[in-house]
Symmetry: C2
Subunit: 240 residues, 2 copies
DNA sequence: AGCTATCATATTGTAGACAATTTAGTCTGC
DNA sequence: GCAGACTAAATTGTCTACAATATGATAGCT
């Protein structure tokens, strides 16, 4: 498939010929990566992207730099930009970081969540359920991540929310790379359980359920070095 | 003082006329901000920085973009880059995020820290003590931050370490902005207490001490809207 | 064949030129 | 004196051309 095809979003049929803004380009590349229309490892050549979006290389460059800082792309000096392909180690680090943050977040949320917030959470969980019955794998993965970001929003801490944004995006990549083909990402709706605990204002339960949820997602993955990018050639061929 | 003066680092008397690399420029600007030779709110004009470092604007641009992503500088579209001047709200968010991460980190570290690691921690604490007796305020603030980053390194999780890097850098700015002039940042050596708990392999104590430490630092600040950048004019003059 | 050196190609890194934008200052008419 | 429009200066946003670099191909030598 062409790069243009991979990046094309339905419904954005802009008829104006104003060049795409940095923000738009960023959004479109991100969703292409998250929904893995651009699979891990894909090289993103600046000039080609520039042609696709009808802009110069400089705009593409700022987008790629930003993506690199969020670890969604890997920038190799003088070599180019590649869609990130998290190693097993990185994957474990992502879950490690999430375990550090999210149970505490769930505990915090009990104090902050208004009834409106809880309504929004329920709404989101319903969307997830719909995607699950429709068996729309892409939507399931995306919505699963967004649930956690939504929790961040409710707590209202910018930094935490941005960290979660980053960590959940990477989790999407990780799931794509390491999911054991058997079962989909979040088999039962553990998110609903968490929302229930929040509504009961049971902070400890929410934290516990969150931790269980993260452990569950991680353990449902097949986290062994296989086709992961950056195979450690040393380890493979050195007897030492 | 001139911009060149603010950015000049003693001891880096490079005699080669090779232009500064992006990395070097980044490092030098960061330390200038952290040690507040570039105080919060300072505008960083691309062309002037380019002249100081003897490079074109593009390199400066990538550095500024990176700093903006780490929230050490604020990038205002079509207006320019300014050294970050965290609002009270942002300051509270920083501490909120740290409270979420670091107690858990302290608990984790009990499992990972080797005797070598603990030695390194002690060494660091000693440096802090030295800076404190020498009354070297800049060094105290910098080393205080580095202690927490060091904990991240020991746990060995890249993401967590980078988050801490970002959060502690911002904390340096916050301390500069909001420190009540009375007492220095970390009055007693709470870091040493934490190291002791780690050595005793008492995870709960380490976590508890870390939380106490963070609360202590935050409460020693004078976190009320005063001269914080971005004064909310609406709130000031609108009766509503 | 196998190895090395050289060259060709593709791609990024950087600088500089120009356009777009913001800001502040100035002028004019009232 | 003051509101508004216009102008001028400073600064960023973007594009494009060129240099530097990495990678793969080719040719020649042993």
């Amino acid at each position: 498939m062409t790069l243009a095809g991979q990046l094309h979003q339905m419904g954005t049929g802009k008829t104006t010929d104003a060049p795409a803004s940095v923000h738009d380009i960023y959004e479109r590349v991100v969703s292409a990566i998250i929904e893995h229309r651009l699979p891990p490892g894909t090289q993103l050549v600046e000039e080609k992207l520039a042609a696709v979006f009808g802009v110069g290389r400089s705009r593409i460059r700022t987008v790629l730099a930003r993506l690199a800082h969020e670890k969604l792309v890997l920038l190799q000096r003088n070599r180019g930009a590649f869609v990130a392909s998290p190693s097993v180690e990185q994957a474990r680090h992502v879950f490690g970081a999430r375990r550090l943050i999210e149970p505490g977040l769930a505990r915090l949320i009990i104090e902050r969540a208004t009834q409106t917030d809880i309504g929004r959470l329920r709404e989101h969980v319903a969307k997830e359920q719909a995607a699950r019955t429709a068996n729309d794998r892409r939507a399931i993965i995306r919505l699963s991540g967004e649930f956690h970001v939504l929790l961040g929003h409710i707590v209202g801490n910018t930094f935490v929310t941005e960290m979660l944004q980053e960590l959940t995006s990477l989790t999407c990549l990780i799931i794509v790379l390491y999911d054991s083909p058997a079962l989909p990402a979040c088999p039962h709706n553990e998110h609903a359980d968490i929302v229930n605990a929040v509504e009961r204002r049971d902070g400890e339960a929410a934290a516990r359920l969150m931790l269980k949820h993260l452990d569950h997602v991680e353990s449902s993955l097949h986290l062994v070095d296989q086709d992961s990018r950056e195979i450690d050639l040393e380890a493979v061929f050195n007897k030492a």
